[in-house]
Symmetry: C2
Subunit: 252 residues, 2 copies
DNA sequence: CGTTCTTTTGATGATGCTCAACTGGGGTGG
DNA sequence: CCACCCCAGTTGAGCATCATCAAAAGAACG
């Protein structure tokens, strides 16, 4: 029975339906199997474990858990955060469909952060040991995996730049522009989208307080750069917003 | 002619002498060849290009350079920094012997930052394409490479934590403690070492100004936590310093 | 031994934080 | 269906931390 059939099985719920299949996944051009041929993608499918649902506010993994799987986000949004020695949490990233979770755990075989679903989500479990075996036979896969790890490194460097020497205005504008482009890459609107995270979470990520985020939103709204209704956001002037992130446009 | 012979060749300067050899390198237990056997290390030696000298204040590579090599630091210290759109630079890391430079460039085949020597240094050029070929035959090497990339990711996450919600005191203490442990791992004193970077560079890295760093140094000196003479540093009370980094000990 | 660059120290000020009160939307129970 | 509550978010006032500006002192270099 093919997986496509399984997915429409009249039985409704079906264990087979929970098996992941890269070829039928809308994210496969952004995710690990990018650039693979049919047969290679099939090999990858073989090692990918179950598809796992992660309800909102639930942990996918937790700091110090032993590392066995990477997770590809199939659906939904996550946040990853570290907890400092003094108990403060620092959000290190917001991840969306097509992105890979858990790469920071390879170095010590222990996860270095918590990963929590911001909404009901689904991930594909990828046993890392078996993935490494596959690398030997599919160089394309290996190369793309390296690109994804490298991309994570540069993403974090950009956040360091943001936290290290950008003003509150710039940080927030950069944050919105970043979200916008990631939604665009997924075929969604680059101008209208829902924030999946609270103001507090945005503030934490950007090294600011919830009050600052709230004020920032109000000001950008007043300046006609945004339309805001709760977590629904519309970017009215992406060009000026980018200029603001770059520090060209001063927000007054 | 063996490489060991080449190194002591009476001819003095000698092209062979500039060939790298992992087995004779004091850093090989920290660096890429960690855990490799004799023959595997030899294979790695085969692909490693020349050993390259990088004089102080010289760029090893520059942002937007096309990526062909990773670099293993054999000797010396480097800084990597990004330049923001507004022209500000943000130092993203200080690297020392045994560490790998250039991993952020894999994702786009272009370097994403500048790498500059903080003192006269030497690196081993590692052609990445050939390294990837080797991965197919030496799984241990591949696995360790993944660990090194992953380690870079967690390192950066720690910096995000530092920049995102630590006070100036905590940042600076964490910085010193980090240097200390890295020197310890290399067999140097964990309490006495030379800062290879200027106060300005420290400040830039930590998201602070040079004046703040200077004041911080003066205060820690007055409190008896440090001895400072120019760039020579002695940590007099590592325990309290760690407590300060953790936010337990308040610096008054 | 002068020149230049880095560092130190002091005085002042702005950005973003803290604390506090208020608003509004969504869910729940009467 | 409405009233109420609760939580997330908003707004305001005052304040702290760290930045900025300025000047002097000290190291490094030729």
């Amino acid at each position: 029975m093919s997986q496509a059939q399984a997915l429409v099985s009249p039985a409704g719920f079906n264990v087979q339906a929970l098996r992941s299949s890269c070829s039928t996944c809308s994210m496969h051009q952004l995710c690990l199997p990018m650039g693979l041929g049919e047969s290679e993608m099939h090999k990858l499918d073989q090692i990918i474990g179950r598809r796992r649902k992660v309800p909102k506010d639930t942990l996918l993994y937790r700091m110090d858990d032993t590392f066995t799987n990477l997770y590809a986000i199939r659906l939904g949004h996550f946040k990853t955060y570290q907890v400092s020695q003094s108990g403060e949490q620092q959000i290190t990233g917001f991840q969306m469909a097509g992105e890979l979770l858990g790469m920071d755990a390879i170095s010590t075989d222990q996860h270095h952060c918590d990963a929590m679903a911001l909404e009901d989500s689904e991930v594909c479990e990828i046993p890392f040991a078996r993935l490494e075996e596959l690398f030997g036979t599919i160089p394309t896969l290996l190369h793309h995996f390296h690109r994804m790890m490298s991309q994570e490194i540069t993403r974090e460097q950009n956040v360091m730049l943001l936290l290290g020497n950008m003003s509150a205005d710039q940080r927030f504008a950069a944050f919105l522009v970043n979200l916008s482009s990631r939604y665009a890459a997924r075929g969604y609107s680059s101008s209208t989208f829902q924030l999946r995270m609270s103001r507090e979470e945005i503030g934490n990520y950007l090294g600011l307080t919830i009050e600052s985020i709230s004020r920032l939103l109000s000001r950008l709204k007043k300046q006609g750069l945004l339309r805001v209704a709760n977590r629904e956001i519309e970017l009215l002037d992406p060009v000026r917003l980018k200029a603001m992130a770059a520090g060209t446009e001063v927000c007054d």
